[in-house]
């Protein structure tokens, strides 16, 4: 048995240790603070717009495969937001339509919506046909345009992993005058979502959404843990830059162990 990537292993173990320590601290009653994220506060506003107009909300999910390292976590974050959105949606009687290009997301989003609506007392608001499958990135744009013509969705949540179809999809949403809450981790498309959205989540904010919406101190503690590790990484970056500039190139070898 040989150990490799020792530095990364230390970082992962430290992350888990910090996560559990803060989780324990939160369970003892410690309160954690997360700054305001207007995009997540606007979820109720978006759904109430749909309720006023008597139309559904739309939750398109494009981007990479669920099993991929980068897009998978952001799909999970988007599903979390979808899960939490079912509560106000059930109270207001708003249907959530989903469009996706990833077959596993059909099953996952159907489960989230079925359970979310059922637990919140509105099981009649969801059926499997409300999750639309499109066979490709550009097909979801064309199909969504069609859906907007038919159902006039007043609010759209473009959250999760968004790839090359982002500008076209944003354009379709805005042509139909839909209220847009956007957020992606995909760096190249963050600027599009910021420019188009009424409210936007940028970069890693999408990962903090579950903790923010649930208002659960134990979940909030994980965001605090993330910030601690982020500080460690920033400190290492500064130390590394100074060390390498001073000619101590062994630092690079140590970090790549």
């Amino acid at each position: 048995m040989v150990i490799q990537n020792l530095f990364a292993l230390i970082l992962v173990v430290t992350s888990i240790a910090v996560l559990w320590y803060n989780y324990w601290w939160a369970s003892k009653g410690h309160k954690f603070f997360i700054r305001k994220l207007p995009a997540l506060d606007a979820i109720s506003e978006a759904l109430s717009r749909c309720a006023e107009l008597g139309v559904p909300a739309y939750f398109p999910m494009s981007g990479g495969p669920v099993e991929q390292a980068q897009s998978g976590p952001s799909h999970l974050a988007a599903l979390s937001i979808m899960g939490y959105a079912t509560k106000p949606a059930s109270e207001m009687g708003v249907k959530i339509l989903v469009g996706t290009v990833q077959p596993p997301l059909i099953a996952m989003s159907d489960d989230v919506l079925t359970e979310g609506y059922r637990i919140n007392g509105a099981p009649e608001l969801h059926k499997l046909e409300d999750v639309m499958y499109y066979p490709g990135q550009m097909q979801i744009v064309a199909g969504s345009d069609s859906l907007f013509k038919q159902y006039k969705m007043a609010s759209t949540f473009m959250l999760g992993s968004w790839w090359a179809d982002t500008p076209a999809m944003c354009e379709v949403v805005k042509r139909h005058d839909s209220f847009l809450i956007g957020g992606t981790e995909y760096i190249e498309n963050v600027s599009y979502l910021v420019a188009f959205s009424d409210y936007a989540l940028v970069f890693e904010e999408i990962y903090a959404a579950g903790a923010y919406i649930s208002d659960d101190e134990k979940l909030k503690s994980s965001i605090f843990s993330e910030d601690i590790i982020k500080m460690i990484v920033i400190a290492l970056t500064i130390v590394g830059a100074i060390a390498v500039s001073a000619g101590m190139r062994d630092f690079l070898k140590w970090i790549a162990m």
């Binding site: 990537n5 996560l19 979808m82 046909e129 013509k149 038919q150 354009e171 970069f203």
Partner: protein, 217 residues
């Protein structure tokens, strides 16, 4: 067995075990860990392939009522488009299962029908992207200006004629691309990377439950 156990605890434990084994492969070189991690990854691929069939079921569920009621919404003749979608889906499933996707018949159907239609849809989407970019790059807010002005400078810097006509664009472009853009990109990658690690840990340890069955939890 209770529903909570079946629908939450068992999947959670399975994911903890699978994720731990797959993660260990990155840190420990050991034949048994490599074997089990490879096996679990293959199972994951098989599960995803089986779920892909759900896409077909979903298409049929969505389009069948439109055909049955000869629907003309949202466009005139919608029922015809729905029918053609189902016919082509079934056709491809049948040809794929009986002839294999590498057969000449499958490839003929794919190259003659799917490729041109996919190309056409991509072209239409490119039009939406173009008008969308125009809409995005209108200066209406301070953030909009912060987006447009550097974009315009980069756009001019990237055109061969830009630095020729405006020589000052050279150093500005280098600073925007290399110094500001590069450092911002790296900081974003670090932030996103940390976010990814933590949402994965939260999911693996069952802390992130927005997408999970919560009744009785």
């Amino acid at each position: 067995m209770s529903t909570v156990l079946l629908r939450r605890n068992i999947p959670l434990w399975l994911s903890i075990i699978a994720a731990t084994i797959i993660a260990l492969r990155s840190f420990i070189i050991d034949p048994s860990i490599s074997y089990w991690a490879g096996l679990l990854t293959t199972w994951g691929t098989v599960v995803v392939a089986i779920i892909s069939g759900l896409g077909v079921v979903n298409l049929i569920l969505f389009h069948t009522p439109k055909i049955r009621s000869m629907q003309n919404k949202p466009v005139v003749g919608q029922w015809f488009y729905s029918a053609s979608t189902i016919i082509f889906t079934v056709l491809f499933v049948v040809i794929g299962l009986t002839q294999l996707p590498t057969s000449s018949m499958y490839l003929w159907w794919y190259n003659v029908w799917v490729n041109p239609i996919a190309g056409l849809i991509s072209f239409i989407s490119a039009y939406f992207s173009l008008t969308g970019t125009y809409r995005a790059f209108k200066i209406r807010t301070l953030e909009g200006a912060a987006l447009v002005i550097p974009a315009l400078l980069i756009f001019l810097y990237d055109c061969p004629l830009g630095p020729y006509l405006f020589p000052f664009l050279g150093p500005i472009g280098v600073i925007l691309f290399g110094t500001i853009g590069g450092s911002m990109m790296r900081s974003a990658i670090v932030a996103i990377g940390m976010g990814m690690i933590y949402i994965s840990l939260r999911t693996i340890f069952g802390m992130e439950r927005g997408y999970m069955y919560e009744e009785g939890a």
